[in-house]
Assembly symmetry: none
Homo-oligomer: 237 residues x 2
């Protein structure tokens, strides 16, 4: 399904380029512009960085209806509350809805309003849903391209294309390996006189608690034991 990002009357070409880059970083490619003040423009290209293809393939329309006429679903982004309450969804919930739409569906349009005034009431009235981006109650004025970035990010996350957790490069140490390391540490600490009479024995417990939080891997246990062995060897010589 095509997800179409529609910028309604953007004033600053830099925002068009930045929106294109924001889209491409989240695997969106369809950019439509309704009456942009300046486009094409070198500022748009500069801010697009590696997303020049998205800028180059952007389609310009003379009216909003031209831009969304073939769309089966239209969402309007908004930070302000409106007179007439609409179906309002948080962007994360909206993204979940979109991810579950059939692949073969007609295009979905997401509208972003003017830098200063957002979307007009008659534009919002054409939307199936109003999408709200959570933001500060003190200063909630998101830059246009930032709003595109956040919506694109939530859509990307919802599509489940995310692979985040990097595999660890070593196996976890077994409990037996860790216990043996503790014994070694204890011996070494005695040899260097760390446990002088009167010194609080709780220090060793604290060291154990500290290591227990790490989920040590095999190599780390070997390195630690290598350090202890080196200390012991130097003491003998």
């Amino acid at each position: 399904m095509e997800i179409r990002i529609v910028l309604v009357e953007p004033s600053h070409p830099g925002n068009i380029g930045a929106a294109a880059r924001a889209m491409k970083t989240m695997d969106l490619a369809s950019l439509h512009l309704v009456n942009p003040l300046r486009f094409p423009d070198p500022q748009a290209d500069w801010r697009a960085a590696g997303a020049l293809d998205v800028v180059a393939s952007a389609q310009v329309h003379a009216s909003l209806n031209d831009a969304i006429g073939d769309c089966a679903f239209v969402a309007g982004t908004s930070v302000r509350d409106r007179h007439i309450p609409w179906t309002v969804k948080d962007v994360a919930d909206f993204a979940q809805d979109v991810a579950s739409m059939p692949e073969a569906a007609k295009p979905l349009a997401i509208l972003f309003g003017r830098e200063n005034n957002g979307l007009a009431n008659d534009e919002l009235a054409q939307c199936n849903v109003h999408v709200r981006i959570p933001s500060s109650s003190i200063y909630g004025s998101l830059n246009l391209a930032m709003a595109v970035q956040l919506v694109a990010y939530e859509l990307f996350k919802a599509r489940g294309q995310v692979q985040v957790r990097s595999a660890w490069d070593r196996a976890h140490a077994t409990n037996a390996e860790v216990v043996a390391m503790y014994d070694h540490l204890d011996r070494m600490l005695h040899k260097i006189g760390f446990f002088d009479p009167g010194a609080p024995r709780t220090a060793f417990t604290r060291l154990q608690r500290m290591f227990s939080r790490i989920e040590l891997d095999e190599t780390e246990v070997q390195i630690l034991r290598g350090v202890f062995t080196h200390v012991e060897q130097r003491l003998k010589s």
Copy 2:
């Protein structure tokens, strides 16, 4: 708890202003800059829009360690995979962790790297966790301020659903204390001959990675340094 956004050597002042605006829309206010190429600059003010106060109160540092020395927890943002995998968290999961930290904790720093090169390996090695922002496998190159916006947004969302973790019995060590401990460890390892010629230097990086996962408290750092000191004293006698 102060959440400190640290931009490391940003090249474009426009990105500084845009990052400030991104922060303010998500109720963040503490902006720190390490060696910005141009700052202050009219471009930063222009892109900040209603967040001029965040730009005006930004603190400039000559080194990363100056910027994070008093921080108890340091997170580094990264899109690339590194040679030695670190603890990596998805930004949404990281935001949940942050929301549950005790209110009275020392500052938390979130590092954002250079526009072209991100964070250097030695900078990433100072982090407790690497935060990854999900993005396209084809073109994942987020603009710097966009990355700040996404992290700030997730932090804002997570603050909505908070359960604060029980306080630890000791204060977290600051970054400066941990760095000094690393220096001490390095000296001690040299003295005991751990770094024989031909031995892989990666062992030290692995030790750093290991300690970075613990979120060391002050007492633990003192105990570790006590151990190192004892080793050094025994070598002399």
